[in-house]
């Protein structure tokens, strides 16, 4: 067993102060790319010696030169996305939090583009906010670096497909504990199901929920449960971008009593009908014999 011993030195938390700026940059420096090729870059955040816990911003790119393909959020420091990275025009908007804070350098998310035509451009962040983990939401000062790229014409045929499905990821998404609660402003008097997990290999793709004997349906958190009596088993399926699935099951909170079970009454009724029919047949036969 490969054993790594890490002794945590608590004093590093004491160094959490706002004396140093946080950095946001891309994991590639100036890039030379060819037309028709796929281009991937990660966004790195470095908090320096201060603890940060929330970040938001927009990543702009020239959409005449680059076509947005996808994002990858696996291994992101963000545990809860307020707004998962989403394409809006020529920028990708995002915001999220790290409960408990984070100190150091980490991956925020990755972007995948496909080059359209030759030309020069850059990818850069705007409206960026990084907040300190100080209980007040104090804004950290930020140093950011853009990525400049040069796209030259490629005489070869363009790449037709990009390996978005990472087949090397064989791990299921992380185990998670969903919650059931009433939140009047969201669901009125209805119970809501809330869930969230991560996938370290390829990132979470989607969630599905199955209530009782119903089928799996694609949902987002929070989800208004169909069965408000909470008498059905609920299965939540988290699926990553490689197709690996994590199932968690919630036992019925209020299991049905025996007298609420339709099948129980159906059996009794069938037994009564059969007994009544047999009795009546027998009675008819007896009466005929008497005649």
């Amino acid at each position: 067993m490969n054993r790594l011993l890490i002794t945590i030195c608590l004093s590093f938390l004491l160094l959490a102060n706002a004396s140093q700026a946080a950095d946001l940059y891309f994991d590639k420096d100036n890039a030379e790319i060819r037309t028709g090729r796929f281009f991937e870059t990660g966004i790195i955040i470095d908090s320096g010696e201060q603890s940060i816990n929330a970040v938001e911003g927009k990543i702009y790119f020239p959409n005449n030169l680059l076509e947005f393909v996808n994002t990858k959020e696996n291994n992101s420091i963000i545990s809860f996305w307020i707004e998962k990275p989403k394409l809006i025009g020529n920028y990708i908007k995002f915001s999220g939090i790290v409960p408990g804070g984070y100190i150091g350098q980490a991956n925020l998310f990755e972007l995948i583009f496909k080059t359209k035509q030759s030309g020069q451009g850059n990818i850069h962040a705007q409206d960026l906010k990084i907040l300190l983990n100080d209980g007040l939401g104090t804004e950290a000062s930020i140093n950011q670096r853009a990525i400049n790229f040069n796209i030259s014409h490629d005489v070869l045929a363009s790449e037709e497909a990009v390996v978005i499905i990472d087949l090397s990821d064989q791990d299921k998404p992380e185990p998670f504990t969903p919650m059931i609660a009433k939140i009047p402003e969201i669901g009125g008097e209805n119970y809501l199901l809330m869930f969230n997990t991560q996938d370290k290999g390829s990132g979470i793709d989607y969630y599905q929920v199955k209530e009782g004997y119903g089928a799996f349906v694609k949902v987002e958190s929070p989800y208004v449960l169909k069965s408000q009596k909470l008498d059905k088993k609920i299965i939540i399926k988290a699926v990553d971008k490689s197709g690996n699935e994590r199932l968690v099951t919630i036992s019925p909170v209020n299991p049905k009593s025996w007298y609420e079970n339709f099948s129980f009454f159906a059996i009794i009724i069938i037994v009564i009908i059969v007994a009544f029919s047999l009795g009546r047949t027998s009675w008819t036969k007896t009466k005929r014999k008497q005649k």
């Binding site: 002794t7 945590i8 608590l10 408990g100 998670f176 994590r246 007298y259």
Partner: protein, 352 residues
């Protein structure tokens, strides 16, 4: 005709009993108003009520619970323990010779795990959060030491947080760190030393009167209490054998207005960080700190009053995010909007 009537009369009491049960059950369910429902989840790595196991968590069960002396239990998808991985190992016979080979023991694949150990408070509940969600809880020993193993991890970077609750249900600050976990390896995180809990007996104290500052830490540790003023004031006291500490601070040293206090502990060569700050006012009257009655006011960012700050509160804040006229309970900095600052405050007070 009379026979049918007689049958109906016989069945009528049964019908009444059925109606009674159904009515009672409907009434009972309507009478229960739950904000957050206690659920048992199979697949979350925590063996809860009704489950024999959950992934790698078997609670107190092991192969020996089923009469075997070797092997490992397997947890099936229904969270029932499967004993097919258990076997009985026969000790070698010292006097005998020979003996043929054997089938060998089953090969147990290496587990990817992280072992956390450190100091909290005597017999306190210690929670480990994995990426913001409670992954496992344990109870510290009488000497405040804890040791817990978290399994079923993937290769990747995890953000772990540790916190504890003292005997008065006061929580420590979150102690957070990042670890890159490699598949098949066991990573030990040692030397965790949670900051002491802290509370005051008064929310407002008359200038010149004492305010009691108290909490819990490691037994017989030296606690440093810092009180902020124009110049920070420090007091050093020893925690007792239960880890409890108490100091009466003379507020004659403080100017009127808002102040706060925090504490850290030293035990042998280890020093904790400072824990959470507790605010109090120095003024003209003494006002006792309200006991924690479980209402929302005692826990910042607990929007649904369940004494926790977790995904439910996140969902509430996310609903109000960038909406006009948000619910005041979601607007944590009272600026009449829910934005990233409110989420940052929530992340600071997170409990999972």
């Amino acid at each position: 005709m009379f026979k049918y009537l007689r049958t109906i009369i016989y069945l009528f009491p049964l019908f009444l009993v059925g109606i009674f049960f159904i009515t009672y059950n409907v009434w009972a369910q309507n009478g229960v108003v739950n904000a957050t429902v206690k659920i048992s989840v199979c697949g979350n790595n925590i063996a809860e009520g009704g489950e024999e196991c959950d992934n790698a968590d078997f609670g107190s069960l092991s192969c020996s619970s089923y009469g075997f002396n070797a092997g490992s239990l397997i947890c099936d998808i229904a969270c029932d323990a499967d004993i097919s991985g258990c076997y009985t190992e026969i000790p070698p016979d010292d006097g005998g010779g020979g003996g043929g080979g054997g089938g060998g023991n089953p090969v147990i694949p290496p587990q990817t795990s992280v072992i956390f150990s450190g100091k909290a408070y005597p017999l306190s509940s210690v929670s480990i959060l994995k990426d913001g969600q409670i992954a496992i809880t344990t109870i510290a020993g009488p000497n405040a030491d804890f040791d817990v193993k978290l399994s079923s991890l993937s290769t990747g970077t995890y953000n772990f947080s540790v916190y504890s609750e003292d005997e008065d249900s006061n929580r420590s600050a979150l102690f957070t760190f990042s670890v890159y976990v490699t598949s098949g390896s066991s990573t030990e995180i040692g030397g965790i030393f949670l900051a002491p809990t802290i509370a005051t007996d008064k929310s407002e104290v008359r200038q010149g009167d004492d305010v009691a500052i108290f909490g819990q830490s490691v037994p017989n540790s030296t606690v440093t209490i810092a009180v902020n003023s124009e110049q920070e004031i420090f007091r050093y006291i020893n925690a007792d054998e239960d880890g409890a500490y108490l100091h009466y601070f003379d507020t004659a040293l403080l100017e009127k207005g808002g102040h706060s206090t925090k504490s850290k502990a030293r035990f042998e060569e280890e020093v904790s960080s400072y824990g959470q700050s507790v605010a109090f006012l120095v003024g003209d009257a003494n006002i006792d700190t309200l006991p924690d009655d479980g209402n929302c006011s005692s826990i910042i960012a607990d929007m649904n009053c369940d004494a926790r700050v977790n995904i439910v509160d996140f969902s509430i804040a996310a609903y109000w995010y960038q909406r006009s006229n948000p619910d005041p309970k979601a607007d944590l900095n009272n600026d009449n909007k829910v934005d990233l600052i409110d989420f940052s405050i929530m992340a600071f007070h997170w409990t999972g």
